[in-house]
Subunit: 285 residues, 2 copies
């Protein structure tokens, strides 16, 4: 199969930068061009050897493959002009955490068949080029939406590359993706941010409270380190689904609070016992 | 300093069993006696070599040192008869996650000066003898309450042992302990249990949702694997403080929900940005 030679990465942060690290290993002959709204990020990425060239949208005609790894609202803005600019045989892959709006954005685009909508279930709470990690995607799930709308030959080349990155592929329609991911990813971020907020508000008045924090707190609050520039657009694009999960979460918390207020300790025990079952569901995670 | 020879551990689970593993290393000549409501746990602990003897309360007169590592409501029940049964020079240490009720329980006990109220900020989401880990306590914080109410000689011996286990010592009154620990530990468990519940309720109807879960979800939901037999009594004993933190947490979540409902994305961004500061607070955790 023909190899990708000139690869453009739009957004050289955690997600795009980690793709670059894998490309270096899998396609040692490729040239990686970076595009980023932040000149500092671009310079850093070149300095680190993450990308070969600091580039711009005007050079996209060179691209065999384009990765979009920018905030999801930006992806909606940039995807049409990117598709306009690329050649007929170029593959454009979006890596954003919401998929319905981006699929809608390009639904009628003349180059829809050049586009593949993907979401790698991988990341950390850090951001920027320095957060890029080799093999971030190894063993992780790649969710692909509307695969049938991508040209067969481009599908094939993309899926081969994702397999070479060590990813497991899952196919899903974009609406189902957005509804489910709200539960297993977006809600976790809100629960973590608000937990961090609650404890930090207390800390203003009470010194040394964090001396008492252990690994359990660190684990539940880890996602509160995430980048608001990434997450505000995600919550915006997936607003309806996120609100639904958030409502259910708050209802469950209120129910737990009521049980505790009413000293219904058997029911408190049952709430936890029934949730323990998550052990077997999360095996391997 | 005189070494502890006969050491009783009441509750040979994660916490007590991990103490046993450290004692083997620090005091190789000691004999460890286990007491547990579960005969299976005792047999398992003997079989693993975690303890030397399966024992009972009637042998406590042999003890130089007693660790209580049982659910906090049980500690309140057992502590007075344990103190009644031990010798005048025996040290009794409670390791529970709430401290006010246990300190109140023994306040007027004739052997109050034999007792040290402690809480090691260490643990995992697992339970039982097989969950015991060597060096679980190494580098962790040990919170000690009402140290002045323990006999000076016994204080000294206990603090030396905790230091040998690699722990950093912090002194605090029991009411402050319970108020602060509600924020940095107890609330995290509720947020995690209810997050797990919310997602699992959804999963009943939607297949394969957990295929989409990544390390972020696993991290925020990890504590939902914790033992309800440990945590129900903690929430019971620390009910007022836990309810206060839970109310503040729910208020913060409702506020975030309202901002999202009203499409106030700048405010949503600010909520997260302000909480990012937790990065610097949690350094090292």
């Amino acid at each position: 199969m023909e190899e990708f030679k000139n690869i453009f990465i739009i957004g050289v942060g955690l997600i795009g930068g980690s793709v670059a690290r894998d490309l270096r290993r899998i396609l040692p002959a490729c040239e990686i061009y970076g595009i980023d709204a932040s000149k500092d990020n671009l310079e850093e990425a070149v300095g680190m050897g993450l990308i070969n060239h600091s580039s711009g949208l005007e050079e996209l005609h060179l691209a065999d493959l384009v990765f979009l790894a920018i905030p999801v609202d930006q992806a909606n803005l940039f995807l049409p002009p990117v598709l306009d600019a690329v050649r007929e045989d170029t593959l454009v892959v979006d890596m954003g955490s919401t998929k319905a709006s981006v699929c809608k954005t390009v639904a009628e685009h003349p180059k829809r068949r050049n586009f593949l909508a993907s979401h790698p279930i991988a990341g950390t709470e850090f951001s920027g080029p320095s957060a890029a990690i080799e093999k971030l995607y190894d063993g992780k799930t790649m969710i692909i939406c509307e695969v049938e709308k991508t040209a067969f030959k481009l599908q094939e080349r993309a899926l081969q590359l994702f397999s070479d990155m060590g990813m497991r592929l899952r196919y899903m329609d974009p609406e189902s993706h957005d509804r489910h991911i709200a539960y297993v990813s977006h809600l976790s971020h809100i629960s973590s941010f608000m937990l961090g907020k609650t404890v930090m508000e207390k800390e203003k008045n009470e010194k040394d409270i964090f001396d008492m924090a252990g690994s359990g707190f660190a684990s539940t609050v880890r996602l509160a380190k995430s980048n608001p520039a990434t997450w505000t657009p995600i919550f915006k694009e997936n607003r309806e689904n996120v609100l639904e999960t958030l409502k259910e979460y708050i209802d469950n918390l209120n129910n737990f609070k009521n049980l505790l207020e009413n000293a219904e300790y058997e029911a408190v025990h049952a709430e936890m016992k029934n949730t323990n079952h998550i052990k077997s569901i999360l095996k391997g995670l």
